[in-house]
Amino acid sequence: MSLWKDFTTGIIKENPVIVLMIGLCPTLAVSSSANDAFGMGIAATFVLIASNIIVSMVRNHTPDAIRIPIFIVIISTFVTIVDYVIHAFDMELYASLGVFIPLIVVNCIILGRAEAYAYKNNVISSTMDGLGMGLGFILIITLLGAIREIIGNGTVTIFNYQLLNLGAGYQPALMFIMPPGAFLTIAFLMAAQNKWLKK
């Protein structure tokens, strides 16, 4: 069951954000609400899977010396596609993600997986790896967004569906949807991971 293993390592054991500490910038910057965080997670995962597939397909025809520029061109192609798709279908999300959509191209998770995994493995395992890493990323970024939104605003909303509402009696701690809240929340997530998940 090595395909299953490819899929699951990214979710917890080698979770890109809280274990490998990569892809921090978008994680912290767009997690002020669960909806933005989820949108970012989906966009990055699409780019990750697509670029993993293409990199793995061309890996036997890629000269070693110029592989990084080739990866970057492949990744930025998909980032441009995502950029235009979000712009066309969800203007609100596009406005709140802002410059972080084109910045998916320098997200270390994507270049890192292309270099460390897709460049050395076949198309199917690379797809599974991209899917697993992407899910790990979506999980953490949405969790972070949800925690910050609950504490800072008393609600959790994803795609206009309100999943949770603490009601008018709740006094929101505005700090958590402002920048310091992102640093604090990820610090506690990492500490929890150190305490309970590390073997």
Binding site: A29, P69, V79, L103, V106, G181, F183, A191
Partner: protein, 197 residues
Amino acid sequence: MSNELTWYMILLSSILINNIVLIRFLALCSFFGVSNEIETSIGMGMAVIFVMTLASASTWILWYALLLPLHLEYLRTAVFILVIAGLVQFVEMYMKKALKSLYNAMGIYLPLITTNCAVLAIALLNIDYGLGFVNSIIYTVGVAVGYTVAIILFAAIKERIALSTTIPASFRGHPIGFITAALMSMAFLGFSHLFGL
């Protein structure tokens, strides 16, 4: 942001009010990775100021002289990242050959900067904000100085934290670093609404 802003307002706003690391969350990898000693963080800061200014100037010219007249706006992300990567490589080779002492001081940080998302972000923001050439250079220098200020302050605090023995085991290392950054971010939040940007 409009062109009516005076240069010192752009500088103040980019250094303090919208500090790139603590308020905008860019360049976090190097902020946490290269901040173990004050000296290395000064070197990193200088390298960032240098590369960012060069990158902003060249991408600004490229955008207004080539991509915009030819209606190739959709190539922006791909072209900018390749230009930045190529530029950093070129600067590194030139420095190694011609400016040996400068290379020894900040050469090792240069490859790290290619993957520094702040460089690409500022190149894109200069275009998004519609800044003129001079203003975008001022803005870039301000952002890079803001980065340098933040990373030097952070390194100074981290050097003291390293000596502390009272931190719980699961908070050692990165978690306490993030909590420090949270407190610094709160301090910088105090500058917001300084002149209503």
